[in-house]
Amino acid sequence: MFHKAKSAIQLAALTLTFFLPFATAIMVEAFSTSITERGKSTPLLFGPRGDRFDLTINSLFFRGDHSSELSMADFKLLSEENRGIMVPVSLGFTARKFPIIGTTVDYFTVRNITPKLGTIPLMLGEAVLGSECAKSLTVQIGDHILTDQVNLYDLSASYPLKLKVVGVLNQTNSADDNAIFTSIGTTWVISGLGHGHESIGQETENDKLLSKTKKQITANASIEQFIEINESNINEFHFHSDPALLPITSIIAFPKSKKDGTILKAKYLRHQKIQPLEPNKVIGELLNVVIRLKRLFDSSYALTTLAALLFLTAVILLSLQTRKRETKALFLMGCSRGTICMIFSAEIMILCIFSILFALLGAYVITFLGSDILQLLR
């Protein structure tokens, strides 16, 4: 350690050499564990025909755009099979960048999620926040959060909705921690399929109306649209559609038994519109790709490490050459060749041990700081 600069450079070189493979291994392991756990906790998933990876990742980790390929009718169909608990999920909206999940009360039951504060959403316009989401947004129960406008330039798009925070969930160490849960109906209001406005009737001023007959009154755009659902206006909210046709993204199924699950899956295996998936298997396939990629990186790292070690060997040999006189003096003074070897080996070992320790520490720090990447997928 006397030659501080030289030692520091060697230490830095070795640490960087070991850091990359360590960091990759730790991050891949953390990613695999996280994604696999989520897959295992979701027995079956039903969604529209298409890319099974997209469907699985979007449904389990609340990503992707709003989809209208499935509807409540499909959910009803599956529920009537009476083979377990079916949970509809409506995705594609965000509030302050956090995903909004429209679902039913059953979601919390089957996922074993309980509120830490307040309640789960029971009424239209109510929201319960995941633990990390609540921390990040620093909101309290009773506060409101505004949903994000998808396209600012779309004049025909629905207004953002003010969601009332009614609860905060306990930490689950899953994607649920970074989500906002509402009722399915609330997501329909967000999408514009439902809305609320001031009452229109015979007494409504004419400048707010497009047309008015005895049988039908049509309001114009000046009618006040409500952007918040509360006790005073909840009755003004309605849907201009058959509820059965209102869309959902996917359906998470929790079969009563393995047999029920197998029957459900078999029944929809060749369905034209709906595909059944076992998220665990789909994620397994995805991980195989990740692991194959990791192996490719590993072989690249192996070559880099070899190159670094060769350079280090050259530096060590050069160092030994420059310390030849020192070695000779030690030998003349009665030091054995073995002890001299031990002295130099110890110096190299200390360097290697510290570089491995620093590399591991750095890898864990990066994994911790880079947990945003994992949180996106939780």
Binding site: M1, H3, R325, A329, F331, L332, M333, G334, C335, T339
Partner: protein, 224 residues
């Protein structure tokens, strides 16, 4: 009359695959004597010193040091003998810059597993440091010492194990005459105080008058 310390009888030495050889029929060096090994470059001065120190083993013949025949010892035994009984003073001092002065002083104990660093050793090192005037610099590093202080430290290191023999390999080789004389006087003073036999390899004829005996090694060597 001084007692003999080193006795060489019928010594022959040859480096492998070399046309150089050293033949010493008889040589005696007494205890506490000051001996200079002289001769032209390559005549075998360092070789003879290394044979006496037990670093090299003669092809034939005997080297007795304090009655012990070095030629009958294994390499490990000769190394232990050397560590305990021979002190070296090198031309470039060969101080370890990454060790403090106090650790440089104790280096001969540190590098030999069979020699423990006892309180007695530490006291001896401290006493030596005081006698050579560097006792206030024990926590410093060699590069923080002056040239003269480094020389004295090298001398003290050679004497810390209380060796019976001190071998100085051209310690004044790079010095001017005045400094060389000062250094030589210090070496002789310290080795005399410690009762050590001094064997010095030198090219400097001006210093020969400081020595009781001068051996021209060139008389014993041949190049084929």
């Amino acid at each position: 009359m001084k007692e003999s310390l080193i006795q060489i009888r019928n010594l022959n030495f040859r480096y492998p695959k070399s046309n150089f050889s050293l033949s010493v029929p008889e040589l005696t060096i007494n205890k506490e004597s000051k001996v200079a090994l002289i001769g032209k470059s390559g005549c075998g001065k360092t070789t003879l010193a290394h044979l006496i120190a037990g670093i090299l083993n003669p092809t034939e013949g005997n080297i007795l040091v304090s009655g012990k025949n070095l030629c009958s010892l294994t390499e490990s035994e000769r190394r232990e003998h050397r560590a305990a009984n021979v002190g070296f003073i090198f031309q470039e001092f060969e101080l370890l810059n990454y060790l403090q002065v106090k650790d440089n002083l104790l280096l001969p104990f540190m590098i030999n597993r069979k020699m423990e660093i006892t309180n007695e050793c530490k006291d001896r090192a401290h006493s030596l440091a005081e006698s050579i005037g560097i006792s206030d610099k024990l926590d410093q590093y060699p590069e923080q010492l002056s040239g003269g202080e480094r020389q004295r430290l090298a001398i003290a290191r050679a004497l810390v194990t209380n060796p019976s023999i001190v071998i100085a390999d051209e310690p004044t080789g790079n010095l001017d005459n005045e400094t060389a004389l000062t250094v030589m006087q210090e070496i002789i003073k310290q080795s005399t105080e410690k009762g050590a036999t001094l064997i010095m390899i030198t090219h400097d004829d001006s210093l020969l008058n400081l020595f009781e005996k001068t051996i021209n090694v060139g008389d014993f060597s041949k190049t084929y």
